[in-house]
């Protein structure tokens, strides 16, 4: 910035040199300024690595498999990334997916003949959990880490306890013969063939969510508020941003993702194991962080979370195609997380320096 006061007069030649400088650095700077840059570099490296060490990795069918693995994580990584940009965590996100599947399965089985009723009830129940997390956070002002840790434990217990109480075992009864099953399966767990590649429908859900989240983040008022709430809560509040509503909305976003994932889980197998989902919340967070979300909030992107999920998909399936012991997967994921975080920090510093 230069002020036009005499003491701050621009360099001889007026404003022209500044604008020239702007033109020269703007493309590079724009690129370096993108939160997902580090993860894109990382994704290219992982892709090359497995393309070299695993022969079958480059087949079209493998691509479909990798994308499927990525989408299952990615659907949740999108809202978790938004929440993280808004400065909060959700440790209940993993088991909430299972809860959502359990509710639609058991409600449909016990209460009605039509699956769709259960699916909609599940949506309401899942959203209610998100509202609970958000309202608890804004009312108690406790860290979201603690609140959602509590929700996580309670949901884990409820999933197991209620399923055993209602079904008598740890898994739900099959709902494959119920009315509406095939139409719900078509929506949540079918396959589509695009350009000769078999793709699970979750890939489309995932891409749709990434596009929607990107639109919200970059082109709506709510998006501006999400960045502001995560990057400077008090400054946001002082200029009239509805901080609490934004936070509750972000938790409801996680609920929406959990509902979609949960319905996919249910309709791809038609029964649900009540103990599933524990630990996945960390994988969603890892995908978001690899994708360039700042753990302290205020910075990140939905596209980055998708790249993070894609790295996850490539690594988990690449290890199988390379015929290695899958136990190595966690090691790779951990190393990737550290590398990506370091790379992101470095890129961000460089981006600031070029300004």
């Amino acid at each position: 910035m230069t002020a036009t006061a005499p003491a701050e007069a621009p360099a001889p030649g007026g404003r022209a040199p500044a604008d020239e400088r702007l033109l020269k650095t703007s493309l590079l700077r724009k690129l370096l300024g993108r939160p997902e840059l580090g993860s894109v570099v990382g994704a290219a490296a992982v892709f090359l690595f497995f393309a070299i060490v695993a022969d079958s990795f480059l087949r079209a069918s493998s691509f479909g498999t990798v994308l499927y693995a990525a989408s299952v994580i990615g659907i949740m990584a999108v809202p978790v990334a938004l929440l993280m940009i808004g400065g909060e965590f959700d440790l209940s996100a993993g088991v909430l997916v299972t809860s959502s599947a359990l509710v639609s399965s058991m409600f449909s089985y016990q209460m009605t003949a039509n699956i769709w009723v259960g699916v909609l009830v599940s949506l309401l129940v899942t959203l209610a959990v998100g509202v609970f997390n958000g309202v608890m956070l804004t009312r108690t002002k406790l860290p979201s880490f603690i609140i959602t840790l509590g929700t996580f434990l309670m949901l884990t217990g409820l999933n197991l306890g209620l399923t055993k109480m209602i079904s008598g075992t740890v898994s739900t009864k099959t709902i494959a013969d119920m009315e509406g099953f095939s139409s719900a399966k078509a929506l949540f767990a079918s396959q589509v063939t695009l350009g000769g590649v078999n793709l699970k429908v979750t890939v489309l859900w995932w891409l749709g969510l990434v596009a929607l989240a990107t639109w919200i983040l970059l082109r709506t008022r709510a998006g501006n508020w999400i960045f502001a709430v995560g990057g400077g809560t008090e400054a946001a509040r002082a200029v009239g941003v509805p901080v609490n509503k934004t936070r509750v909305g972000l938790y409801m976003g996680v609920s929406l993702g959990a509902w979609i994932s949960g319905q996919h889980l249910l309709f791809s197998f038609d029964v649900v194991q009540s103990g599933e989902g524990v630990g996945n919340e960390l994988i969603y967070i890892i995908a978001a962080v690899i994708g360039g979300c700042l753990i302290t909030g205020g910075y990140g992107s939905a596209i980055g979370s998708a790249v993070g999920a894609f790295i996850f998909g490539m690594t988990s399936k690449g290890i199988v195609y390379a015929e290695w012991d899958p136990d190595w997967f966690k090691f790779f994921l951990g190393a990737m997380l550290l590398l990506a975080t370091l790379l992101n920090a470095w890129v961000r510093k460089r981006a600031e320096a070029t300004r």
Partner: protein
């Protein structure tokens, strides 16, 4: 005295504020008039921030009256204050550092275009307006897309002031805008404060620097440990008196008398 016939934009009368049983303010009065700068001076912990948090709608007073344009009020929250035309610029909390300048400029009052699900930020308008509004205040930014955190402290204050002026604030409240700044940057900020005054706003300037206050101020309220230790209009007081009063006033006289040999 300065024009007493018009109703002040903001008037505090005998306002007190308690945090639990801590008395942060007691019996403080302050007037803010359009086109004038009212300075609040005091040491650290004197209650300056508490005073402006009441005006900004972050806290509510426990006793006394708070009137906006002659009408007694009680603000529910900062949004309420903004809607009544009171904009506040906090020293550290003025902006969100990681967000681009143009997003910060419109934060909380973003213009949109389109309808229904296609309702979206009018990004072009936001960028253009930010640039032109800053230029109008004499700030020439190279790039409104840079994170505002990359600007200097003085520049950030200036952007926040330009924002308040753009959104038609009638009263601008500034909490120690020059506290963390060097001499030159302080000068730049004070220049924009004066520009806001010339634009017809009533300004509340918090500072613990009597020199800064006297450069631009029309009224001076001195706080000491939560109580009002002095209230002057510019004609009644010299910079020396103001400085002396700030530094301890009669206590200082007493001290110099005692130290005299």
């Amino acid at each position: 005295m300065t024009d007493q016939s018009t109703t002040p934009l903001v008037e505090l009368r005998d306002v007190s504020k308690f945090y639990g049983n801590i008395k942060a303010l007691e019996g403080v009065s302050l007037e803010v008039h359009a086109g004038e700068i009212s300075c609040v001076l005091g040491d650290n912990g004197a209650g300056k921030s508490t005073l402006i948090k009441i005006i900004a709608g972050l806290h509510q007073h426990d006793a006394g009256t708070f009137s906006i344009e002659g009408e007694e009020t009680r603000l529910a929250n900062p949004r309420d204050a903004l809607d009544r035309g009171i904009a506040t610029v906090y020293q550290d909390l003025a902006v969100v550092p990681l967000m681009p300048v143009w997003r910060n400029f419109f934060l909380g009052s973003e213009p949109t275009k389109g309808a229904g699900p296609f309702k979206r930020l009018d990004v072009d308008l936001m960028r253009r307006t930010t640039r032109s509004e800053l230029l109008r205040m004499g700030i020439d930014l190279r790039d409104v897309d840079q994170p505002i955190g990359t600007l200097s402290g003085g520049e950030r204050q200036c952007v926040a002031i330009a924002r308040a002026v753009h959104f038609g604030a009638k009263v601008l409240v500034l909490d120690e805008p020059t506290a963390a700044l060097g001499v030159k940057q302080s000068g730049v900020v004070l220049k924009y404060v004066a520009a806001a005054r010339d634009a017809g706003l009533g300004v509340v300037l918090i500072t613990h620097n009597p020199h800064h206050a006297y450069l631009v101020g029309d009224r001076f309220v001195l706080l000491k440990r939560g109580a009002m230790s002095g209230s002057h209009v510019r004609d009644e007081i010299t910079l020396d008196d103001l400085t002396r009063e700030m530094a301890g006033g009669s206590e200082l006289d007493q001290l110099s008398h005692e130290l005299e040999r």
